[in-house]
């Protein structure tokens, strides 16, 4: 190394920089500047979206929006049918997807052979990337056309199809992080393999698995496309009627945002804020709950 020898306690970056020419330093600074600009470009849209939704939605997110159903011509109505629909359909989708996703994750992580695991992992990755509108059309053909009825159950299944690969991949990754010694210890005590998985491995990875579930739920709550062909949307409050059409917050936003009626535009902003709070609430609760244990 030529030039001044840096002090021993200097950081690695400082020591590297010390020997450089002014040109190199300039390039370094420009590179850092660009990286910072790119980072800002990432953060600004997010901040802008949050700002707009809060600014426009705060005034419309009131008791009427939460407690009143849609009304003709948009005056004096609310989004009761929509948030109830989102909660119900996402709830049922979660009930369907959690056992399937976790079981598949366990299988890939603990039991599948190398080739099978790779094939399933590949399939899951592809599934995560499939445009959700295709999932909607698939479920439409499967569960709407044969029954001759748009129904909320089909909507839930479409959402479940979207959640499953998210849970499967997360579960698999998290189980892989559980130390071998735990499994070996359990097996050495004579505990069967299946019991080891369910009673030792899975509980250890619980926080991480939960994160996967919540990520899936948050994603499903924000989906519109798969519901257009399945749950269709509704202007009526529907509690438990999974054989009939149901509304969701996303469909409410979609319909309200393109309305010429100003009151409905406002309600759509209110519903957007409500959805944001819902998804944000889920995310935050997950982060808080998964402080312990193995994380994704």
């Amino acid at each position: 190394m030529i030039g001044a020898v840096p002090a021993r306690d200097a950081t690695l970056a400082e020591r590297l920089r010390a020997g450089r020419s002014p040109r190199r330093r300039a390039v370094d600074r420009a590179g850092r500047g660009l990286a910072l600009a790119a980072t800002l470009a990432c953060v600004v849209p997010l901040a802008a979206v949050l700002f707009f939704v809060v600014a426009k939605g705060a005034g419309a997110l009131n008791l009427d929006l939460l407690t009143k159903p849609a009304k003709a011509l948009g005056t004096g109505g609310g989004a009761l049918q929509s948030w109830l629909g989102t909660v119900q359909m996402v709830g049922l989708a979660t009930l369907i997807a959690v056992p399937v996703g976790i079981a598949a994750g366990i299988y890939v992580s603990e039991f599948a052979g190398h080739r099978a695991a790779r094939a399933i992992r590949f399939a899951s990755d592809v599934m995560v990337g499939v445009p959700s509108i295709l999932v909607g059309i698939f479920v439409y053909v499967l569960l709407v056309l044969p029954f001759r009825q748009f129904n909320a159950f089909a909507g839930s299944v479409a959402l479940a199809v979207i959640i499953v690969p998210v849970i499967q991949r997360t579960t698999e990754e998290v189980l892989g992080l559980v130390p071998r010694e735990l499994r070996e210890g359990s097996l050495a005590l004579g505990v069967p393999s299946w019991r080891t998985t369910l009673s030792v491995v899975l509980p250890t990875a619980r926080a991480g698995v939960l994160t996967g579930v919540m990520l899936g739920v948050a994603r499903a709550a924000g989906e519109t496309a798969p519901l257009l062909f399945t749950a269709l949307g509704s202007r009526l409050v529907n509690i438990g009627g999974f054989g009939e059409p149901m509304d969701s917050l996303t469909l409410f936003i979609y319909n309200g945002a393109r309305s010429p009626i100003a009151a409905l535009n406002d309600q759509a902003w209110g519903a957007a804020l409500l959805l944001l709070l819902l998804v944000l609430g889920i995310n935050v609760s997950v982060r808080l709950r998964s402080m312990g244990g193995v994380r994704a």
Partner: protein, 381 residues
């Protein structure tokens, strides 16, 4: 904890399985709600059809053109008969016909009558009854700062939508609007992106007044637009026009009112410039009522005679299965449509729609007698 975990997982799986089973059944069984057969026999004559006593859910989808009227109707009918729930989704006339063809709805709605090839595409044995419910005007809306009064004739309107007139101060527009200051800004055409009965009526008008349009884009629910931006539904076109300076579009009268947009006065067959209005549509309907076709498939009424007649008027139709698969649903549907054709007509004017001419109304009510369940009329004469 180590012992309860697998149980918890098992319980979760069980819950999901039960939910799958229950709801899978629900998809088929739930809609066929009970109504005691024969308990409330259908009455004859002027008393109107019987309303089922059990809970019935009806799902409909289609035209956005009458959607504000239908929403008010179905809400009011639901208040009178709380056991009957009617859900209407405004997805466009094209969507309404698509759904009635795939039989995923209990009723459809369209302002363009089904074409012969669309009827041929229905599943074998399926017959559809067109029930006219109202008339509306297709009005030309515009959003030009400072401009509130605009007169247009057929060729000029066609020129705008063909893309040959591109500036608001075009000589053709200026000639029709003497004394009006027109800006030099670009004309932005807004049209429908979905299959639409409103488009069908509007393009029928353009084809009637312009050979270039007739030989070019032609008439239909969906045409190849030479220019402009697409928007979904009457609501979408109204919103896009409202948000775009220099925009011009076409919607049902009620949507212009909702959006608070100015409408152009169109030159009618008698050479008078008329604003879209309930009266202007009623005049058109009265002139056309005498020749109303037996199968109800009345095309839009373009350039009807009369000084007060508005040149683009269209019936809008409910599409009903002649053979109902579910008796309670069939009864509820007939009761609903009968109410709409009688009491419901009084609500039309206030919402910007024209009530049916008396002759058409009588024909429509009579047609409800032809709807059957298991081969027998649900509401016998």
């Amino acid at each position: 904890m180590t012992i309860t975990s697998p149980r918890r997982l098992g319980a979760l799986a069980l819950v999901a399985a039960v939910a799958v089973g229950a709801c899978g059944g629900g998809a088929t069984a739930a809609p066929s709600a009970s109504s005691e057969p024969g308990a409330s026999p259908a009455q004859t004559g002027a008393a109107g059809p019987a309303v089922p006593s059990g809970t019935v859910s009806l799902t409909g989808a289609g035209a956005t053109f009458p959607a504000p009227l239908y929403q008010v109707w179905f809400e009011q009918f639901g208040t009178i008969h709380p056991n009957i729930k009617i859900d209407y989704q405004a997805i466009g006339s094209g969507g309404g016909i698509k759904n009635i063809t795939s039989q995923t709805v209990d009723f459809g709605a369209s302002d363009a009558p089904m074409k012969d090839d669309e009827i041929a595409a229905l599943p074998a044995g399926t017959k559809i009854l067109h029930v006219p419910t109202a008339l509306g005007a297709v009005v030309v809306i515009f959003n030009v700062p400072g401009l509130t009064d605009l007169k247009l004739d057929g060729p000029t309107t066609a020129g705008i939508f063909l893309g040959t007139i591109t500036k608001w101060n075009d000589p053709a527009i200026a000639a029709l609007n003497p004394g009006v200051t027109l800006p030099a800004s670009d004309v932005v055409v807004v049209h429908r992106s979905d299959g639409s009965g409103t488009t069908n009526a509007f393009t029928a008008y353009l084809a009637a007044v312009s050979d270039a349009w007739k030989g070019g884009p032609g008439v239909g629910k969906d045409v190849q637009w030479p220019t402009g931006i697409g928007a979904k539904g009457n609501d979408g076109v109204a919103a896009a026009t409202k948000q775009t300076s220099g925009a011009i579009g076409y919607v049902e009268l009620q949507y212009a009112a909702q959006a608070g947009l100015a409408t152009a006065a169109l030159k009618n067959a008698d050479g008078a410039f008329v604003q879209g209005s309930v009266d202007g549509v009623t005049a058109a309907a009265d002139a056309a009522a005498a020749s109303f076709p037996a199968d109800f498939r009345q095309d839009p009424i373009i350039n009807g005679p009369g000084a007060a007649t508005y040149p683009i008027a269209s019936f809008t139709f409910l599409l009903l299965y002649v053979d109902q698969k579910d008796q309670a649903k069939g009864q509820a549907l007939i009761a609903l449509v009968y109410w709409a054709l009688t009491d419901g007509q009084a609500l039309e004017k206030g919402l910007g729609y024209a009530p049916l001419p008396a002759a058409v109304q009588a024909k429509a009510i009579a047609a409800l007698h032809t709807i059957t369940f298991g081969g027998a009329p649900i509401w016998p004469e």
